[in-house]
């Protein structure tokens, strides 16, 4: 096992700073493990005999069995000695939750942690982080209680975040929206394990299909670039750079230096390594969902199928705006579709099924569209407010998507509670669904860009 494997797949875990006080992080983390983790759990607290029906130990050194992972949840000034004991115990990996290190100027204190970890060959995540969340192994060091923050279910999206709180909020939202997650890692101060090593690790992780990255800076730019390039040809990486205000405006001798804020250079570096660049946090996961759920398109010709004319027009505008192509249906397809549609429907691109379209109409038309060789991907707009359209349209979309799984199909549906129920249903069966044409087509563009980067769509840009 690789050192990082012990972070995600430990057989046993010690919680240093486990607590009986419900509001304490050490309590929440212990309870996460007690509830879901299948390996052994050892609470460590010198002032308790027993916690959540588990025997409590004063130190990891008192635990009679082997420990793979330790989670340290005690104040910064006690972390060093606890870590030393972890080293002596032969623990393989440690997550250090508390802050109070380099982020507040205590660089020496943090350096000592790195030294101890190196000396004993332990791998370290943090300090000053949320740590690790894995839907497969149920390692969960997120210290927000489950009644306040839901945990998402299993999926193929893994998220590396430099900001812990941001990651926690995203996990909560992912749970509500039925977005499947594989792993979440809050890397904190990066005293040992950094984003570079994590990217490489997730690049080889069989449960990760897409890597999402939130970064504000890096300590090793070239290392990051090389890791992204190496992993980016295996699986898609979606990234967002936090801290966009330009620091490049200081007075300098050359124009170049004055234009080169770190965001601009990050952006270029991401483009160069095939990373899909998200402009905001919505896009980060809009892109990730499309890439995680769909196969890559073989071209950029998009067909719109809608039951609302206006949304068809907006979608077409977005396709042009994003430099994608409007698909042209073959004459054969047009004839076949015309035969099954009422005379007032419009067959072209968009295909307007008009307001009285029911599920059956969607099904018959979509099957012909999916078969058309001039179509590389399909953008389905459906407004569920219209009375003719029933919930069984979800079944239609599931069956069409799985029958033609090589051709990406995404859905746009805008609306309130009723619509959102259906959005969650579709999300659960991995049909990426977006609340606006703008967001949907941007995700489509990301899919096309990545397909082009991988050479599935030939690059004819010269």
């Amino acid at each position: 096992m690789d050192g990082l494997d012990y972070l995600f797949n430990p057989r046993s875990v010690a919680i240093i700073g486990a607590s009986r006080e419900p509001r304490k992080f050490g309590h929440v983390i212990l309870s996460n493990f007690v509830k879901r983790f299948r390996g052994k759990v050892y609470p460590i607290n010198p002032n308790a005999e027993e916690l959540m029906n588990l025997k409590c130990y004063p130190s990891v050194l008192d635990v009679p069995d082997e420990i793979d992972l330790a989670v340290i949840v005690i104040p910064a000034e006690y972390v060093e000695s606890a870590l030393l004991e972890c080293g002596k115990k032969g623990i393989k990996a440690v997550v250090i939750i508390p802050g109070g290190f380099s982020e507040v100027g205590e660089k020496e204190r943090e350096k000592r942690l790195t030294e101890i970890a190196r000396k004993y060959g332990m791998r370290l995540v943090g300090p000053n982080c949320i740590g690790i969340f894995d839907t497969y192994s149920h390692v969960d060091t997120m210290f927000s209680p489950m009644y306040k923050q839901d945990r998402p279910f299993k999926g193929r999206i893994s998220f590396i975040s430099q900001s812990g709180a941001y990651g926690t909020a995203i996990m909560d939202k992912a749970a509500m929206e039925n977005m499947g997650i594989s792993k979440f890692v809050s890397i904190g101060n990066r005293a040992d394990v950094d984003e570079i090593e994590m990217i490489k690790y997730l690049g080889n992780d069989k449960n990760t299909g897409v890597i999402v990255l939130y970064l504000e800076g890096t300590k090793n730019g070239r290392g990051l670039f090389n890791a992204l390039r190496e992993v980016g040809v295996k699986k898609p990486i979606v990234a967002m750079k936090g801290g966009k205000t330009s620091e490049g405006s200081r007075a300098t001798l050359s124009h170049t230096a004055s234009l080169a804020g770190s965001s601009e250079i990050f952006k270029g570096m991401f483009r160069q390594s095939g990373v899909l660049l998200a402009e905001n946090s919505e896009e980060l996961f809009d892109f990730a969902r499309a890439l995680a759920y769909l196969n890559l398109p073989k071209g950029d010709r998009i067909q719109i199928v809608t039951n609302a004319g206006g949304f068809g027009v907006i979608s077409a505008d977005e396709i042009i705006e994003n430099k994608l192509s409007m698909a042209k249906l073959s004459e054969g397809t047009i004839d076949r579709i015309k035969k099954i549609l009422p005379s007032y429907a419009i067959v072209g691109n968009p295909i307007d099924l008009v307001g009285d379209a029911d599920s059956r109409r969607y099904e018959r038309v979509l099957k012909y569209v999916m078969k058309d060789k001039g179509v590389d991907a399909v953008f389905v707009v459906m407004l569920l407010q219209l009375s003719a359209l029933e919930s069984d349209v979800v079944d239609v979309l599931i069956s069409v998507s799985s029958e033609f799984e090589d051709k990406p199909l995404m859905v746009c549906t805008t609306g309130g509670e009723f619509t959102q129920v259906h959005t969650r249903m579709m999300e659960k069966v991995n049909i990426p669904t977006y609340p606006t044409p703008e967001r949907g087509i941007r995700a489509m563009k990301a899919l096309v860009d990545y397909s082009r980067y991988r050479g599935i769509i030939p690059d004819t840009r010269e």
């Binding site: 070239r222 601009e264 250079i265 270029g268």
Partner: protein, 206 residues
């Protein structure tokens, strides 16, 4: 420290980067003699390590004929002397028309040497339209960074051959930065026309 323009142009040429036709001269008689080998209008530029922003201080002049040359030369040197005594000489350069682009490079704290491309000339400050890549550059990087910039739209649908010339120049600049110890570089403007891409003004900080 900014290296002399004379040396800067020489270095560019040695890496195969095209420049506007030029000559370096020491004085007015030298200028008159050399100007017969070039074609008017000629752009006169002071070569001084102290003068960074030349056009704002009257240290760039245009001579439209041989008569004009004498007068403009005198004016140029007069303006320059107001600013510094350290004057290497004057660059006489053929004027080139085309679309103004820019290529730059600098050493970034996090990523090391980087290169950028975008709209040049007067647009540079207003539009901040530049795309960056890390050096060394591959051909596909050069193409994509042009596409990422608004310059691509400015070049228009007939930009094909121009783009090849810019790609070629970007790759040469990348190689140049890889081999030489350069802190910052500006080629601005890089004039792009149907004949190719030409460095018209260059600034190299070592």
């Amino acid at each position: 420290m900014k290296i002399s323009d004379r040396l800067a142009y020489k270095i560019l040429k040695s890496y195969g980067i095209e420049t506007a036709r030029y000559a370096f001269v020491k004085d007015r008689t030298h200028a008159k003699r050399i100007s017969k080998k070039l074609s008017f209008p000629l752009v006169l530029k002071i070569d001084s390590p102290e003068i960074i922003h030349k056009s704002e201080s009257g240290c760039v002049q245009v001579a439209f004929s041989e008569n004009d040359l004498d007068e403009k030369f005198r004016l140029l040197v007069k303006n320059a002397k107001k600013l510094t005594k350290k004057i290497y000489g004057v660059i006489l350069q053929e004027r080139i028309d085309g679309k103004e682009m820019m290529i730059g490079s600098k050493v970034d704290e996090q990523f090391g040497p980087v290169i950028c491309f975008g709209l040049g000339g007067i647009f540079i400050e207003a539009l901040h339209d530049v795309s960056f890549r890390l050096i060394p550059l591959e051909k596909r990087d050069a193409i994509s960074m042009i596409k990422d910039s608004k310059a691509y739209d400015v070049l228009g649908s007939r930009g094909g051959s121009n783009i090849t010339a810019i790609v070629d120049t970007l790759l040469k600049v990348s190689r140049f930065i890889e081999r030489e110890e350069i802190k910052e570089l500006d080629i601005n403007p890089l004039m792009v026309n149907e004949k190719g891409a030409f460095a018209v003004d260059v600034r190299i900080i070592r």
